[in-house]
Symmetry: C2
Subunit: 300 residues, 2 copies
């Protein structure tokens, strides 16, 4: 029941967040966002995605983003690379760490990326091979770990199977994502308890969505299970594609507020993080999804 | 670490919620709200407040509310009664259980109710005496238990002192309120751990505000401490007077979603609760503060 002393925040706002925002964002504002985040003390920022612009037009300028940012020493700037072509483009853009993703639900895999879970994993083999050859670390995402929009409940064992395969293929860290946000604290604990039988806890991360308001309770539950890496998006960037108008990514500010309250070290400056979120929300013309940011604004 | 099997929700929307809404609500809509909530399965509803209408004009028609509701057997309809005059009016209106409130912070007590903590407690003595004489149970609220807008941090020992006095005076249940929502999970646990040295856990309740997004994590932390009564307001009614535009009360729907996920029994129907919240938000012309309600709406 002792909590981790240090937690690493994986900031996914510039990628997972912006990719799900309705309004496109210009290159300069993307670069500014990433630089604001590194200045706030984030040590791991997912800054782009190297996929076909036909699939994800919002990420078409990821190479330019990587060329434009001021690289702060000690900060990892990562990108999503679903295939070898994407990996090679990322490598050319100077990306230091990449990520691949698979679903824990067969239906979600079929509907989201048009292939089975096994096929998606097979596609990553060349990416992992190339990454190994170039000394690039690969992070693995598993989606729908606490529920699927098509199948409903997802068994922890099913998640563990996919996570194990990604880990065996060479992913150094596996992020378990509650894509639709239906997970609750007891199920989050049970999931990590099962997956940690096969993968060391220090190689696991929690990626919770706040669609049903459960994200921070799930984080606290995961901390109690010894999980010490969490994904979040500044200002809660990115909505929920499965529930229009609802929240998606957990806001990094709200996560940091919890961790600060628990006395857990992150190296992140809350005020600067809030300022980064307020700025990007003003540019996007959207509400700030962080309750901490809204409370601070109202109290000032 | 075993969680309670049954949790009682104390619905404070019709009182604590509406009292902090900008738009006044007509009598018929108040009555309808209370009846919707009892129909949804809530077993404890704080339906009004017997205070001077000069202080709280929104609650001036509480006697009419109590006269208008359909009393469902097994449901407790309670009211706030800060003094003997209020208690007598509540008694006349057929209120079955009343509540008194004190602050854990001296500055808050002075600024909020214009007297010291000790003076406020002394004022409740006649209320408690009269309640005992009439066989009416009294619930005690303690505010600012995890932070004060004027003093900042509040020591658990300070909270325990006020809670003990209320308990010793005859309050059957003490609700500990994080009035400004700055509390985090570790501090919530530590607080209950300290207060439970003096008051049995089954006589304690948690009242968390979601201003900084921490309410559900605090609930989960409290459940781990054996707390089994939680206050919440349907649709998150009531803003935060200390941060304009920010969230106040935890939404009952979001709390129920967590409890359902944990397999904890409450007797409440989530769909009917959501419908009650959607209706009152439409009448008030306000956004629904429940993330669960918003997610369900977007997913339909």
């Amino acid at each position: 029941m002792t909590l981790p002393r240090h937690v690493r925040l994986v900031e996914v706002g510039p990628r997972d967040g912006l990719q799900n925002e309705k309004r496109p964002l210009g290159l300069a504002d993307k670069v500014r966002l990433v630089d604001d985040l590194s200045a706030a003390g984030l040590e791991y920022i997912e800054a782009g995605s190297f996929v076909s612009p036909k699939w994800v037009p919002q990420m078409a300028d990821s190479a330019e983003v990587f060329a434009g940012i001021r690289r702060k020493p000690g900060v990892v700037y990562a990108a999503l690379t679903p295939n070898l072509k994407g990996f090679e483009a990322a490598l050319e853009a100077g990306v230091e760490e990449v990520a691949v993703f698979a679903a824990a639900s067969e239906s979600f895999s079929q509907k989201n990326i048009d292939c089975s879970i096994a096929e998606s994993l097979a596609r990553f083999v060349p990416v992992l091979d190339a990454a190994r050859a170039h000394g690039v670390r690969v992070r693995g995402y598993v989606s729908c770990v606490l529920g699927c929009p098509y199948e409903g409940e997802v068994a922890p064992r099913q998640v563990a199977d996919v996570a194990r395969e990604l880990f065996a293929m060479g992913c150094h860290e596996i992020s378990l994502g509650d894509t639709i946000g239906t997970g609750t604290a007891g199920k989050a604990r049970a999931l990590f308890e099962v997956v940690a039988r096969y993968i060391p806890r220090e190689r696991l991360a929690g990626h919770f969505h706040d669609t049903y308001g459960q994200a921070l309770a799930n984080v606290y539950a995961s901390l109690l299970e010894g999980i010490a890496v969490f994904d979040a998006a500044v200002a809660g960037l990115g909505g929920c594609p499965y529930a229009r108008g609802a929240s998606g990514n957990l806001a990094s500010e709200d996560l940091l507020y919890l961790l600060n309250g628990l006395g857990i070290h992150t190296g992140i400056d809350l005020d600067r993080l809030i300022a980064a979120g307020e700025r990007i929300c003003a540019v996007l013309g959207r509400d700030n999804g962080s309750r901490v940011a809204r409370a601070r604004r109202g109290a000032s």
